[in-house]
Amino acid sequence: MSKFSEKIAAFTERHPTLYRGVVLGENIFKKAIFGCQDCGQCVLSYNAFVCCMRCPKQMRNGPCGGTRPDGHCEVYPNRRCIWWLINKRAKWLGRQAKLRKYHIPVDRRLEHTSAWMNMFAGRILPLDLSKELHEVELPKREPPPRR
């Protein structure tokens, strides 16, 4: 991101009440719309705006081998496989190229922090609305201050 966004993130993270407000707002928005699991390192723009962390195995790089023929989950037979949904929506939105991105392991220190602020601070992959896959330099992984 930019120097300006890094300043916003730094400012927010210096003010605990403001930061909690941002997390609350983000949660309300993302939980309602995307079923956000609060991993703090959002990859929605790579996964056709379906949250892959809803998968019981939290697969970030594609489906496990257990997707049922009707596209349902092996663990919860009455739920759709998240990756089946991602694939379907990626086709619909023309974002299949984005599915080829390799996602590095989850940084567990970022769980329950604000993905927006992490993005502004340059800790995680930026939101990428384009349909092509671009090589992005791996972000630095220093977590926000602990409280």
Partner: protein, 325 residues
């Protein structure tokens, strides 16, 4: 590609041989003797044996220790490692230990979900997924822990991944396979084939992307003993596809065991003729004793010997740890 681990499996594959892998379930008890006994079914009949890591989430002896016992029994192990039971620290430390004990092949899996096993109340770890685990092992081969710290001396594993040609959605299966290869997988083992149209569709997509040129694909086969086993797989094992033709054949057979063997041998022969397939992975679930017969009837005996290569120079012994000051 250059030789990575120098394991028997790797050398045979790079020599262009059609390889055969077996699979052994470690015992549900503190029983080393049964592993050594099962080695008799594999020694000389297959090139390497997979050791499952608590498959279907049922507790068994650890795949690391079983692999070590299999070496003692005169076979080459392919150690399976799942992400269900260990976090990234435990995985890396187990890999170091396994390599030091002589394990050279590792198969990286995500692992069956814990609710399918006998400890359904357990916490699943899933710290990494299988693609990330493959990258981790590749990085360890290159001398780096996940943290970026240096490994002295580093291991040199022949890295495997799994692929399921039969589960939906097909196009994502190919993307995922390509990711595993890009992350450093050297060989791929698949689920057993009981649905040829689907398998050939998958295989042609793999060939179209040129993936069979970048990785050794070993395709799974499974001998079944009864029609019940097939219908169970069809109905209860997610991600499996069984053609009705096989169920009919098993139902009408006088001796289902013989028919199961016949189907398996047929599949093996047909796979040998399939372009892009570099070997077979026999998964005789709890029926290891049938392996020699399958390999013999499929005309895959005697197993080839790897051409001797120059032994890589012994890594320098690690420096003793500095005493705490």
């Amino acid at each position: 590609m250059d030789m990575v681990s120098g394991s028997r499996l790797e050398r045979l594959l790079r020599q262009g041989e059609f390889v055969v892998c077996g699979e052994m379930s470690p015992p549900q008890g503190a029983d080393k003797a049964s592993i050594l006994k099962k080695c008799d079914y594999f020694r000389g009949y297959v090139d390497a044996v997979n050791l499952t890591d608590n498959q279907t989430a049922i507790v068994r002896m650890s795949s690391v220790m079983s692999s070590v016992f299999v070496i003692e029994g005169g076979c080459e192990p392919v150690m399976q490692m799942t992400c269900r039971d260990r976090n990234r620290l435990a995985q890396q430390s187990d890999l170091l230990g396994a390599y030091a004990a002589g394990v050279r092949n590792v198969l990286c899996l995500t692992g069956d979900y814990q609710s399918f096993g006998n400890h359904a109340d357990a916490k699943g770890v899933f710290d990494l997924d299988s693609v990330q685990l493959i990258r981790t092992v590749a990085d360890m081969n290159a001398g780096k822990f996940m943290s970026g710290d240096e490994i002295k001396p580093p291991p040199a594993f022949f890295i495997g991944g799994a692929a399921n040609p039969f589960a939906e959605p097909l196009d994502l299966r190919i993307i995922r396979l390509a990711k595993k290869i890009a992350c450093g997988a050297h060989f791929i083992q698949t689920q057993p084939v009981f649905d040829w149209p689907r398998f050939e569709k998958w295989m042609s997509l793999v060939r179209d992307e040129g993936l069979d040129q970048q990785v050794f694909i070993l395709v799974g086969v499974m001998p079944v003993r009864s029609v019940k086993a097939l219908t169970y797989m069809r109905d209860e094992v997610p991600g499996m596809s069984i053609a009705d033709e096989y169920i009919k054949r098993m139902e009408s057979a006088k001796d289902p065991k013989e028919e199961g063997v016949a189907i398996c041998v047929e599949t093996m022969k047909r796979l040998r003729e399939t372009p892009g397939v570099k070997g077979i992975h026999i998964m005789p679930v709890m029926w290891e004793s049938i392996t020699p017969r399958l390999v013999e009837e499929a005309g895959l005996l005697p197993r080839p010997q790897p051409i001797a290569i120059e032994e890589p120079a012994e890594p320098e012994p690690a420096e003793p740890a500095a005493p705490p000051s």
